[in-house]
Amino acid sequence: MTTETLKRLNNAGDLDAMQSEALPKLAIRKDPSAQIYGGVTHHIMVCCDTGCTSSGARKILEAFEADLKEKGLDKTVDVVVIGCHGFCEMGPLIVVYPNDIYYVHLKPEDIPEIVDETVRNNRAVERLLYHDPESLKPIVHYKEIEFYAKQKRILLTNCGHINPESVSEYIANDGYKALAKALSQKDNTDGLLEEVKKSGLRGRGGGGFPTARKWELCRNAPGEKKYIICNADEGDPGAFMDRSLMEGDPHRLVEGMIIGGLIIGADEGYIYCRAEYPLAIRRLRNAISQAEALGLLGNDILGSGWSFHLHIKEGAGAFVCGEETALIHSIEGKRGMPTARPPFPAISGLWEKPTNNNNVETWANIPGIIRNGGDWYASYGTQGSKGTKVFALTGKVNNTGLAEVPMGITMREIIFNIAGGIQNGKKFKAVQIGGPSGGCLPDSMIDRPVDYESLIDAGAMMGSGGLVVVDEDTCMVDLARFFLSFTRDESCGKCTPCREGSTRMLNILTNICQGKGKPGDIELLEELARNIKLSSLCGLGQTCPNPILSTIRYFRHEYEAHIHERKCPAGQCVDLMNYWIDPEKCVGCGACKKICPVSAIDGYKKEPHIIDTKKCIKCGSCIDACRKTKAIFRK
């Protein structure tokens, strides 16, 4: 953790003074010709979020520290740990200031060269730069890369650009200015709510309920004691927007919640974060204790007389806790099972007090809206869906990572420009949006604008923002089966339609994937899906049939091929295919024989081998081993 000496700020003037003091230190990141501060000539920003760390970013960090020390440069070069810079595919990645030089796919042995060339001579090391996949030309500045150029970063503005463990870097970038502004109007919270209303912000957790209207309900609810909650239980497989935000810019969330508490009239808040995000939890704890030390959180905030307290609750691993009533029970220390609404949490929520719950991205948008005004925010996006949305780009695309785009952009632009199209020159098949509650969009639907209404209309939903792109090799029936096995496992079991219905639908899908499908199964699935949607208690059950309905809607022919022809068109369902060796191509190298875990392959050296299909478990290891000769195929 960064150790900063923090002195309590007693008013907005103190905050301004702290900002003025912090700014010169960061000047070289904004302007290459800025005056050197404290003898520090360079800032090396090393992305150390969960993604880059698993690509080896910690070793890069250590290599820089060791090399700079050895060369006597450790006093003049600052190595800064940053949160997610967005382009996870390229990790480990760094940015060197001044001159803003962007290096990707680094290895520890590259570091001395960067120190010699870039730090000592201010020259770029060409081989370590990002190379445009088409022109193959190196690009020095990340802003010129199409992945970044097409984005509109108004929420992720600090993410990957400041040290998330330093409150003074946040304050230097106008942090807590919105809080000071809100406190100056604390007797006119109607006016503040009006700004949120004008912004048109809608819940970023998936539902898209207008945020200001939700706040109003809780604000107007009778009762002295009120709570606010941040839902950071990002459970959708394929989504990591909230994790990146919490890891990269935790103070933004804290500030948003403090302002929300002021407007709603709550004096206590909880952040419910899943335990699978240890780094996010650590950064949030650090941010909270820094804000408390500065008097930006706790009693008598900025000398205003108003107090607000914030706690972190770690989830214990239950997807259903993303549902707000279940989440509330979990905070209370009970089994996280949903209850029927009404009463809505706005009237009777946590410990039966009026409670307002929003997700991470919604809360983190608040400081920008209060600081720049609702109209500023509403100038981005479409008529019904204002502002920007952060998406996690995953699956079979070239550029996996985090992207913030204005609402109304087309899915095609996101997939083919920002995410760089499909890996290995394969054909795009569909994009799954909204996780296990959402649906998929085929090629014919991806030219529509991305906004709440048009996605619902297309049978999908915004969800929290996970985009999983699949190519021609993905079986859509298997994908639907995958989602159902997830929701079946995560169903809390309280209501029958979800508990039994998801099991029944999963059985039918498993049968279809194993070649045991029957005529009429598709219709039966559709009927079950409709009933489960109508009769389930909470959002988990009500939305779990969506992946089935949308794959049937757009890929009915794949279901039919499984049922009527006993074939998997994508060649993915293992029970519907076998592995074969082409005797014409096989050179008898024995690599497949050696790797086969069940000894199903036999043959003499330099002679064509054969696979015993009865023994074969279809694990695919032999195909990998035969990558050069390509003699093994599935059929």
Partner: protein
């Protein structure tokens, strides 16, 4: 002093005292954090410890048992020194995480949820760890390993075997 749990291992209940102390002021809703801290201490939740927690927090053991069995995080049996979480989320699924799990199963000789005989590794599956951009991924303790291939698994496991 230590009493003996059904599995034959002794459970030092004194280790719970600092945990009670930490959450003392938080009268409401402290059960889950207490259980999390207890599991951090023992590596799992011995029944003896649950009994003691029930008495301390004045919550019926039946209710505690209900909470423990509801959440995926809590364990009633001892676990290995290293916890392997093989991600089976959407992004990993479409990038063939099933084969990573197969490789883990055959290398360790256990199925998900089980612990190797030498108590070195526990194999688990997880729905998503949020490192989707590096799919397929797994976590060993708190380290994420990304862009996995089935043939790389034995080597990665070897680096943890000491």
């Amino acid at each position: 002093m230590g009493s003996t749990s059904p599995s034959g291992q002794s459970v030092d209940l004194a280790k719970l005292d600092p945990i009670y102390k930490k959450y003392e002021g938080m009268a409401k809703g402290s059960l889950i954090p207490v259980l999390q801290a207890a599991q951090d201490t023992y590596g799992y939740l011995p029944l003896k410890a649950l009994d003691a927690i029930a008495k301390q927090l004045e919550i019926p053991i039946s209710q505690i048992y209900g909470v423990v069995t509801f959440y995926a995080q809590f364990r009633l049996t001892p676990r290995g020194k290293h916890i392997i979480r093989s991600c089976q989320g959407t992004a990993c699924h479409v990038r063939n995480s099933a084969r990573i799990l197969e490789s883990l199963k055959s290398t360790l000789g256990v199925k998900p949820g089980d612990t190797t005989e030498d108590l070195k590794f526990t194999l688990e599956t997880v729905a998503c760890i949020g490192a989707c951009s590096l799919a397929p991924v797994m976590m060993i303790d708190t380290d994420a390993h990304g862009r996995l291939r089935p043939d790389r698994i034995p080597k990665i496991l070897e680096s943890y075997s000491n």
